[in-house]
């Protein structure tokens, strides 16, 4: 049993035209037993910055709480929101602090820069950043997710098309992974609005 596949998870973020989408599955399990079907893996840091965390559920929650804390302090001190790249550097630094006793979670960070261009990146559990122009994936279903994204992704999709693409990629991948699934949630973020939709897939 691997610690990163104890709870099961699937996460994607994709870049669109002046927008981005971030999606995750909703299952929380204890190995093969499903405990919850409404587990939150994607969190809002500020209006145009979201972080999704895959891996061990307790670390998902703790990492989110720590990141929220750091961002709130930053906001109070600097009187502005963090830029997505800055936030990614912060996540990377915080994970590396625990290099020899890491958090078992692999975050994906998705945000809009001040000029409206989307930014996505992922890091491994000890903070190695990986920037991407098109999509990033994370979780137990990551191999299927990579395949699905690679074949379904097109650049410069409008928010509605991006929603379709990311949803299909997510649902088809979690069907190939027994410990992720039980529905999905997708946030499509543009400069002026966020549309959040839940997905009903194979509820198993």
């Amino acid at each position: 049993m691997s610690i990163t596949s104890y709870n099961g998870s699937a996460l994607i973020a994709m870049v669109g035209k002046n927008c981005f989408a971030i999606a995750s599955d909703r299952r929380l399990g204890v190995q093969f037993q499903t405990i919850a079907t409404d587990f939150q893996r994607i969190f809002e840091i500020h209006e145009t910055l979201y972080v999704g965390l895959s891996g061990l559920a307790t670390d998902v929650q703790t990492m989110y709480q720590r990141l929220k804390f750091r961002h709130k302090l930053y906001n109070l001190r600097e009187e502005r929101n963090m830029r997505p790249e800055t936030f990614a550097s912060l996540v990377s630094a915080m994970l590396y602090e625990k290099r020899f006793g890491p958090y078992f979670c692999e975050p994906i960070i998705a945000g809009l820069n001040e000029d409206g261009t989307p930014f996505i990146c992922t890091t491994d559990l000890i903070g190695a950043k990986q920037l991407s122009k098109d999509f990033v994936v994370s979780g137990t279903a990551s191999e299927s997710l990579y395949g699905a994204c690679e074949s379904m992704y097109k650049p410069n999709l409008e928010p509605e098309e991006l929603f379709e693409t990311i949803s299909q990629a997510l649902l088809s991948s979690v069907d190939r992974d027994c410990i992720s699934g039980w529905g999905g949630i997708v946030h499509v973020v543009s400069a002026d609005q966020v549309i959040t939709r839940t997905l009903k897939g194979r509820m198993d």
């Binding site: 001190r77 600097e78 830029r83 790249e85 800055t86 550097s89 912060l90 630094a93």
Partner: protein, 235 residues
Amino acid sequence: MGDSQYSFSLTTFSPSGKLVQIEYALTAVGAGQTSLGIKASNGVVIATEKKLPSILVDENSVHKIQLITPNIGVAYSGMGPDSRVLVRKSRKQAQQYKRLYHEPIPLSQLVRETAAVMQEFTQSGGVRPFGVSLLMAGFDDNGPQLYQVDPSGSYFSWKASAIGKNVSNAKTFLEKRYTDDMELEDAIHTAILTLKEGFEGQISGKNIEIGIVDASRKFRVLTPAEVDDYLAEVE
């Protein structure tokens, strides 16, 4: 850190509500060589007197204006060695910020952290306050900025300010000359004229130091030759 009987803070309140050590620190600053800074619309200039104790001192080895980051510089009035400690700490803080966020530290944040260090030394046992006021100048995402930090740890953002000897004359001069739409070149000339006002002896590129930062966000100290050129322009 001293005998337990005498390990009380030197900064205990006086009956009038003042911290006498800080007052004395400010006096030390007021006896120091004049420094001033002017914020222009497109940059900041800081300048300081560089009177050396003897003509035998190698003036090229003395750097009164120092870089904290590529886009932030600092001048001081008061005790040189105290300023070096603060410059060292500020440089470290700026680098830590950079390591964490991969972004250059905004000047206001650096000033806040430096001021916090100075305040620590007014509320700890067995230490004395720093005997310097700093003028920190920089150009970041919020444009050109000039801050003054005092031994008490208070800091202020200025359009133009002077510290050290001759402060009141210098400030009066600056008040008359300062305009909001001043450009960096004008500001440099005004800075030189202000220094000249209270300067004892012949002013030259060897006994003043000028640092500027413009929209290129690169702070640099002018060479004595460049300073002499500006001095000639001002004549």
